[in-house]
């Protein structure tokens, strides 16, 4: 794992909202897997001491851009404001790759990638890897409005079927990703779903996948202080099996660290409403992407659903 610096190669914007930084870092570029993240020190100002985590959006392993990684973000607070001002040759202090990424199917499979807003970021890297291994990739991309859809042009290029949804109806189907999920799974004969986005979205996706018995992997976005497993702040409530029939069900919730046991989890094992509260908006920058919030009812599933072939 690298604890060191990388050089900014380029800064660009995707649409109106999203900034992208391409960073030269051979150590991370060669090792990082889809779903893993990097933790960046955003300036040296005393007031904001913590690093900000970013899932990796793209990796270039060959050609003129070899050994570079790309992150995308929108401006949420002082850390992302700082990053948005960086230009070529700036130095960034980073740690990575961190966390456990997505598990890819071991045999050819139909994969559906579901991303909400900036939460779609790690799915682009995943889509590249899945296609390289010969899997079919379909995508559902959703956001509040068309401007917040992350790089829809690229998503269309990568996917066999690409469905977009916006809550205001400005682009694609009006509604949320979950409004088109069931139909898309049916139509694409989906065998595994990969999702990343805000909690209510992941909870809703998880519910559909549980009903249809489709395996689901989710990349979660929890507030974290350290990113490497020591602070115990980024935990997700997970369901573990009851050890005996006498054991009360409420005692079977355990907290798993998103930074080391995640950020990718089996969607069927996460307790979605958990014992967790809404996260303050000014803290959202401390999660890999997206605004975590929880409002969905608890549901319960005992089956494990690994991706096909595992």
């Amino acid at each position: 794992m690298l604890l060191g610096t990388g050089e900014v190669l380029s800064h660009k914007k995707y649409g109106e909202h999203y900034h992208a930084l391409t960073i030269v870092s051979p150590e991370i570029g060669e090792k990082v897997r889809p779903g893993q993240f990097i933790n960046i020190k955003c300036g040296y100002q005393q007031a904001n001491i913590l690093r900000r985590p970013f899932s990796v959006y793209r990796v270039h392993k060959r050609g003129g851009w070899a050994s570079t990684i790309e992150i995308v973000f929108d401006i949420r607070g002082p850390g992302t404001t700082y990053l948005s001002h960086l230009r070529g040759h700036a130095t960034v202090d980073l740690i990575g790759p961190l966390g456990r990424g997505f598990t890819l199917p071991k045999r050819r499979a139909h994969c559906l990638l579901v991303g909400g807003g900036i939460g779609a970021a790690p799915l682009f890297f995943l889509a590249d890897e899945l296609r390289n291994e010969g899997h079919r990739v379909d995508v559902i991309l959703g956001a509040r409005d068309g401007g917040l859809l992350l790089n829809a042009i690229d998503a269309r290029r990568l996917a066999s079927v690409c469905v977009t949804t916006t809550e205001d109806g400005s682009v694609g189907t009006q509604g949320r990703v979950t409004d088109v999920l069931d139909d898309t799974i049916e139509r694409c004969e989906t065998e595994v779903v990969y999702a990343c986005g805000p909690h209510p979205m992941l909870a809703a996706v998880s519910k559909v996948c549980a009903e249809r018995k489709v395996p689901l992997q989710v990349a979660v976005e929890e507030l974290m202080a350290c990113g490497y497993g020591v602070c115990m702040t980024c935990v997700m409530p997970m369901q573990r099996k009851r050890r005996s029939k006498e054991e009360p069900v409420e005692d079977t919730i355990v907290y798993a660290r998103s930074c080391t046991e995640g950020p990718v989890f089996n969607g069927a094992a996460v307790v979605w409403n958990g014992e967790s509260e809404l996260v303050a908006t000014d803290q959202a920058e401390l999660s890999p992407a997206g605004v975590p919030s929880r409002s969905f009812p608890l549901f319960d599933t005992e089956d494990e659903h690994p991706p096909p072939g595992n």
């Binding site: 794992m1 604890l3 020190k41 005393q46 007031a47 904001n48 001491i49 913590l50 690093r51 740690i95 929890e222 507030l223 974290m224 202080a225 350290c226 990113g227 490497y228 497993g229 020591v230 602070c231 115990m232 702040t233 980024c234 935990v235 997700m236 409530p237 919730i253 355990v254 907290y255 080391t260 958990g274 014992e275 967790s276 509260e277 809404l278 996260v279 303050a280 908006t281 000014d282 803290q283 401390l286």
Partner: protein, 310 residues
């Protein structure tokens, strides 16, 4: 760097240098060992352990505040038996100097953890008694907020661990820290850890809800460093022969040296580990350079060496 210059002894606790990691900020050392050779540290104060596993509090457990962070984790840990079976033998193999931090809800729980360590963890260098964690159920009755309760825990733990140096960790959230320190010393404390986190609270004005699920949390980071230096100075002035492990907002060698000059014989680095996992090693190097620059024979000569006029 020569051992003579940096070595310190605190009430029989021999350290190769005065820099420790603070409890709860480096786990049991496994994760941090990616970045730091644990044998190069003065020692590692492991995450507090309790007599049975504790699952910890709901999320959000953390929020960033100016120059610091608030946390309310609730001592999520796997229990003392797990520490003895798994973490402790591993730490010994790394040649780490291990200081066990113990916690509990009652005097009896502290004693049961102490008893288990006495019989199960031979080779432990010292025990820190966490009587000041601000996240237990009954905040009004925190042990370190009362002279009687402090004396009860320290006396009972010391009876169990008569041959191991015992360092109660005190809370800064009191009217007279010296009174509590005196009670701990009279009850048999070999030294003191000063200080634990400062009580704090932050509110999301949008939702009008606390930013932590636990409402109140412990403030750590550079924001509390001056509070810790003052506490160390006060207690060292009143009890000059009692060794102190200084902690609270140490991020640089300068921060650590301030504590040493105020009267700490060793310092523990906490929140800074989250941001810079190599902070401890950089601080050891910085202290070494300073001792030579000052022409001192060793770091011990600088303990309490602040110059106060009049």
């Amino acid at each position: 760097m020569s051992d003579q210059v940096l070595a310190v002894t605190l009430a029989g606790l021999e350290l190769k240098n005065p820099v420790l990691v603070a409890s709860g900020t480096f786990g049991s050392g496994r994760e941090g060992s990616t970045f730091v050779n644990l044998a190069k540290l003065g020692g590692i104060i492991v995450k507090s352990m309790t007599v049975t596993p504790w699952k910890g509090k709901p999320t959000p457990r953390m929020c960033e505040t100016p120059s610091g962070m608030l946390n309310a984790i609730g001592i999520q840990n796997k229990g003392v038996d797990y520490f003895i079976a798994e973490d402790f033998p591993w730490l010994l193999r790394q040649k780490a100097t291990v200081i066990a931090s113990i916690a509990g809800n009652t005097v009896d729980e502290f004693v049961r953890v102490a008893d288990k360590l006495r019989t199960g963890a031979r080779g432990i260098a010292a025990v820190e008694v966490n009587i000041s964690c601000p996240n237990l159920e009954d905040r009004n009755n925190m042990f370190s907020h009362s002279e009687e309760a402090t004396a009860a825990v320290v006396g009972s733990v010391k009876k169990s661990l008569s041959r191991i140096p015992v360092f109660p960790k005190l809370s800064p959230n009191v009217t007279s820290l010296s009174a509590i320190a005196g009670a701990a010393i009279d009850a048999g404390a070999d030294g003191l850890s000063l200080v634990n986190t400062v009580f704090g609270m932050a509110i999301d004005v949008g939702t009008r809800r606390p930013k932590l699920a636990g409402t109140i949390g412990g403030l750590s980071g550079p924001a509390i460093h001056p509070i810790a230096v003052r506490a160390i100075h006060e207690v060292h002035t009143n009890f000059p022969h009692v060794p102190i492990i200084g902690q609270g907002g140490v991020a640089t060698a300068d921060d650590a040296l301030q504590m040493i000059l105020a009267g700490a014989s060793a310092v523990a680095v906490g929140t800074a580990n989250f941001v810079n996992p190599k902070a401890t090693i950089e601080i050891v190097e910085g202290i070494d350079a300073y001792v030579r620059e000052q022409g001192a024979t060793g770091v011990s000569e600088l303990v309490g060496a602040v110059k106060i006029e009049g």
